[in-house]
């Protein structure tokens, strides 16, 4: 933390870095260390419900005794019980399919906005962002109104004689997909729009002048140039969807659980903190590569050298 490096603010420059740095170490990094530690502990009928508890007052002997009691039991349980593996796979499946659906819906929307008259674009972008400002919970809840058995969707479909009897939409994967796509659409559209809007229209004109058909110009010019937006949008959706809890809990069924729900149940219902921690560590390991990739993109987008 050289004072020169921190601009022309010798004393203050150091504080500017230190204050948020220490906050993040205390409330972001330290908690992960604790999670990792508890995932190696064993469940106990005590408060806190795990053992061993690190006793710093006992000094080196306490530390040695603590290390001797650590175990991999929780991870062994994760590996042996099919329930956990199934919910990891389910989460990856839901996140993957949703991300593809989001791209299929979000790309035309972002493209349409980027091609609309200049004066209209800020308004359209605001219209896409506005629902994001209303509560996540409200937006999921709004779909329960529509999808429940005596809800509006069944009502409309029956009046149109598309279906003869009400369909159970809720508690299915379809409902999860609808909720996820609906909630994450702004996260997909914004990075896509940002990269589409930057494309120089004269490139497409040049392609047209040289006799390139429009679909081909899209395929060879627009799509490759919008690639950073596609990657950013896909990661920004895929990573949090994998750990999603609220949407599958409210809209999904009880037969297939996503990993976020499994963690929640282990923690709140079963009160098995070591297993919940082990699930968190494993989920983090699963998402580490996409998260690092996202950070690289984010730094590049913000103009920092990677």
């Amino acid at each position: 933390m050289s004072a020169r490096g921190a601009g022309k603010r010798p004393g203050g420059g150091r504080l500017v870095v230190l204050i948020p740095y220490l906050w993040l170490i205390a409330f972001f990094l330290a908690p992960f260390v604790i999670v990792a530690k508890i995932s190696l502990s064993q469940t106990a009928m005590a408060l806190p419900p795990y053992t061993p508890v690190l006793d710093l007052a006992a000094g080196w002997a306490g530390l040695k005794q603590f290390a001797a009691q650590l175990s991999l039991d929780s991870y062994a349980l994760l590996a042996s019980d099919e329930l956990y593996l199934r919910s990891y796979l389910k989460s990856l499946e839901i996140a993957g399919v949703s991300t593809v659906l989001l791209l299929l819906i979000g790309y035309p929307l972002a493209y349409g906005i980027a091609r609309s008259p200049r004066g209209l674009q800020p308004l359209l972008v605001m219209l896409v962002v506005l629902p994001f400002w209303t509560s996540f919970l409200i937006r999921v809840y709004a779909w329960i109104n529509i999808l429940q058995r005596d809800g509006l969707l069944n009502d409309v479909l029956m009046r149109l004689h598309v279906i003869g009897a009400p369909i159970a939409w809720l508690s299915t994967d379809t409902a999860i997909y609808i909720g996820v796509v609906y909630s994450y659409l702004p996260f997909m559209v914004l990075p896509l729009y940002a990269s589409l809007e930057k494309i120089d229209p004269s490139l497409l004109e040049a392609a047209a002048d040289l006799g390139c058909p429009r679909w081909k110009a899209f395929w060879r010019v627009t799509l490759p140039l919008s690639w950073p937006g596609v990657a950013a949008g896909a990661l920004l959706c895929f990573i949090p969807i994998t750990g999603e809890f609220v949407i599958p809990d409210l809209l999904g069924g009880s037969r297939t659980l996503m990993i976020g729900q499994t963690l929640w149940t282990e923690f709140f219902s079963n009160r098995d903190w070591p297993v919940a921690s082990a699930i968190a560590v494993a989920l983090l390991a699963l998402l580490l590569v996409p998260i690092l990739f996202y950070e690289r993109l984010q730094k590049r987008a913000i103009g920092e050298t990677p």
């Binding site: 204050i19 948020p20 906050w23 409330f27 429940q148 659409l185 750990g243 963690l263």
Partner: protein, 270 residues
């Protein structure tokens, strides 16, 4: 040249309809006299009256507003400092880890953040409640503030700061009277985003809360699990109205600021 093809119009219209239809239905049915979703019983304010009598919901809303305001303010200060550190201090020890910690919470699944913060509070023996939720929300939302303020600081003319300091203005004063007014719109937008994220959060609040600190989303969630209720439609409508109003006011204010700056800019040129 921009061509507005029928395909583009249709895809934008379809996208916006998909985004707004469910919310519109929710708002309309909050005024429904009937308890059933499919039966329209005429316009009524019954559910709003019911809401005003529900002390638990009102308490939860008040709790959420206090946590939101406090954590957004703390997050704005910390997030702005982090943004200044990341854009101004090009090299310092541990920079890579610092920027990693700033960007990671943006995509980190909430269940992981919530669980880890709870275990921290348990390990340190802190009483859980108002303050632990506030600290958790501050940590989550400061990263969003950093990203917003940072993008503003990057497209920012540093010669103004340098001029002030060459004329003998101390660094802190330079920041307060030159830098801060220029990045103010981003700082305000950061606060707004932090506030609404805090109001919105269910998962992290559920992990880090304690007895007596039920936030609005926790309350709504426990009601929603029991099924759709018209009172919930009513409280959601109020929240949507507040958010819409705040967004319109802030975008109007930003627009006015932009016109004023443009006018002043012209004045300088003339």
């Amino acid at each position: 040249m921009k061509r507005t093809s029928a395909f583009n119009v249709v895809s934008v219209a379809f996208g916006l309809a998909f985004l707004y239809l469910p919310i519109a239905i929710l708002v309309i049915y909050s005024f429904n006299a009937s308890r059933l979703v499919t039966v329209w019983g005429g316009w009524s304010l019954a559910w709003y009256r019911e809401l005003l009598r529900d002390q638990a919901i009102l308490d939860a809303a008040w709790m959420s507003l206090r946590i939101g305001a406090l954590s957004a303010s703390a997050a704005t200060v910390l997030g702005t400092l982090a943004a200044v550190a990341l854009t101004r201090a090009r090299r310092f020890r541990g920079r890579l880890m610092f920027s990693g910690m700033v960007y990671a919470p943006l995509v980190m699944p909430e269940v992981i953040t919530g669980l880890s913060l709870l275990l921290l509070f348990v390990a340190t023996g802190v009483d859980r409640g108002f303050w632990t939720v506030t600290a958790a929300h501050t940590t989550l939302t400061m990263c969003f503030v950093t990203v917003i303020v940072q993008s503003r600081l990057i497209g920012f003319d540093r010669s103004l700061e340098e001029a002030a300091m060459d004329l003998g203005c101390p660094p802190l004063k330079t920041f307060l009277i030159v830098t801060l007014p220029l990045i103010w719109p981003a700082v305000a937008a950061g606060w707004m985003l932090a506030f609404s994220l805090s109001l919105d959060d269910l998962v992290i609040a559920s992990f880090t809360t304690g007895p007596g600190a039920t936030t609005l989303p926790i309350r709504i969630y426990s009601q929603v699990r029991l099924g759709v209720k018209p009172e919930i439609n009513a409280i959601c409508t109020i929240m949507i109205a507040v958010v819409a109003l705040a967004t319109i006011v802030s975008s109007l204010a930003a627009k006015r600021g932009a016109t004023r700056r443009a006018r002043e800019g012209l004045g300088v040129q003339v």
